[in-house]
Symmetry: C2
Subunit: 330 residues, 2 copies
């Protein structure tokens, strides 16, 4: 890119939710039905350069050095429109984004992508905004992106309107050396993306019961993280994942993100914990890959067992990651 | 058996629920949380001989010509105790029961077994009771046994107390030639039996939402059966099965009856219907085997596809079955 005034490069990490976000009270603002909680993932990140220019007549987007498809460009443009409006600029932007992991496979590329995009877009304008506000802006692009702005273990407070729906760290990444061993069971792009999925949440007769009881689970997970109490964490994390997928599969139309191999990994992880004492539990976002959350001391054994379970499983391993941050220009 | 006054032999068929029974308002009386609806299965039945005798000092039980284990004997004795009390006899019974299908694999051996046992036990005493009362008595042994007393397509009215919680035919077996193609994915005895499972239903925060909305689904399924409208039937049957399993897997402890192969069959059946127009839908009781309900004209194709899906799938095929009936003494 040419030497320019309005340019910045940012990196943000993916996150895995321990308490899930599913369904919005307000789809346009992505105000969620409930508060959620996640851990950023050190190994999975998006890096995004934004250059605003008065000479440009349209936004452009490359992903992993290739021109983006129409759907991705449209979603980024919509987000840039919101940022232009809220930040008070009429310039268009050139956006170059890259991920170090496959998109659309349920490891939340939109979270890291929209967090990095938001930070780079804001910084490129030379604007300084507090982290809390950055989180609200990232949320407008992808709900879970709000959680990729702060570092470590993060709570996204549902809030009542735009300014009060943001994420904040509840513990730094160094607080607890949990490991997320992701069993990649499919790299296929999911058929129903999260944004469309969120809109179906209220068609399940189970969604209100999930939402009405989530604060109790959130409180328990926060306590378990604060006390580094894995056995307290494990049951709630699995239960909350099961609750979200129960809502999904009882929506109209029914959404099944699980593949048969996902179920095999879930049942194996639970068996390893309950019958053999391995400190591991499973959780799945809106995709088929199974995040096996474990304590660092048991990570090698969990990884070995996952590899032995099926030749169709690929493994990605990650500890807790930082929040979004700026990089020197490339 | 010796020539005796108090002897009778009865047969009852298994049934597959289109609207599920899960959870009791009263565990001792097996008064269900909700009304349910099922189809009796012609191909799967239990045949039971009961001989009451004043000379016996204890009940005895054989299943498939072998002396029954302690747990099965205990459950049958408990049921005979209730029958003795309600029918006014103090005699003990010799019970010989046989099934033409594997027990405990989720094709409801307890339904046909307790329906046949109840009819034989009552008839052996020379008592004549109306079908409605027989259904209440069978319910005391196994909730779904109440539905194996009447024939064809059967509704079990939840009722408010013992006498009003019984099943009745809503259509005879000849009304609609549906076929249940059961994909047996495991013959292993399930780890958590239905009776224990029912007691966990209220530990799921989703159970009340399932129960509160079931009458609407029941009404739709009855209408679909009356009109022989398969496309109206299919979506509700799958949704109600998903709802029950959503409750199960969000109970404490979580109950997963699905195996990975169960999920593969479910997703295939749904795909065959939605993408290729085959008139088939899936439903699972408290076990891993997948009941593929289809119209007779598509049964061959469904069976062929199931067989091709995995060499680990065995197939049992059944049309609608009759209610419980008496047989000549063996």
């Amino acid at each position: 890119m040419p030497n320019s005034k309005y340019i910045a490069r940012a990196r943000a990490h993916s996150n895995i939710a321990f308490i899930k976000y599913w369904g919005n009270r307000d789809d346009a603002l992505r105000l969620p039905a409930n508060s959620s909680l996640s851990m950023n993932l050190a190994a999975l990140h998006s890096t995004t350069t934004v250059e605003w220019s008065e000479e440009r007549s349209a936004d452009s987007l490359t992903i992993n050095d290739a021109e983006a498809g129409a759907a991705a460009l449209e979603r980024v443009r919509a987000h840039l429109n919101l940022l232009r409006e809220r930040l008070g600029t009429s310039m268009f932007a050139r956006v170059e984004s890259s991920n170090n992991f496959p998109m659309g496979a349920g490891i939340a590329s939109s979270a890291s992508a929209f967090a990095a995009l938001t930070l780079a877009a804001v910084a490129a304008l030379g604007v300084e905004v507090p982290q809390r506000q950055l989180s609200t802006l990232a949320r407008l692009g992808s709900g879970s992106a709000s959680r990729s702005i702060p570092g470590g273990f993060v709570e996204w407070l549902a809030g009542d309107f735009h300014e009060t729906s943001y994420a904040e760290s509840i513990a730094e990444r160094e607080h607890w050396d949990l490991v997320d061993i992701i069993a990649i069971v499919s790299r296929r792009h999911k058929r129903v993306g999260s944004s469309a999925g969120h809109r179906t949440a209220d068609t399940s007769v189970l969604q209100s019961a999930r939402v009405e009881t989530v604060d109790e689970r959130l409180r328990k997970v926060k306590g378990a993280i604060m006390n580094r109490d894995f056995s307290a964490l494990a049951g709630i994390v699995e239960a909350d994942s099961n609750l979200m997928h129960a809502v999904m599969m009882t929506s109209d139309p029914a959404l099944f993100y699980w593949l048969p191999l996902s179920l095999a990994v879930m049942q194996a992880a639970r068996r390893w914990r309950l019958e053999e004492g391995l400190r591991v539990c499973y959780t799945l976002d809106a995709g088929p890959n199974v995040h096996c959350i474990c304590v660092a001391a048991d990570a090698e054994r969990v990884a070995g067992r996952l590899a032995a379970l099926s030749p169709d499983i690929e493994i990605v391993r990650s500890g807790p990651g930082p929040g979004a941050f700026l990089l020197p220009r490339a």
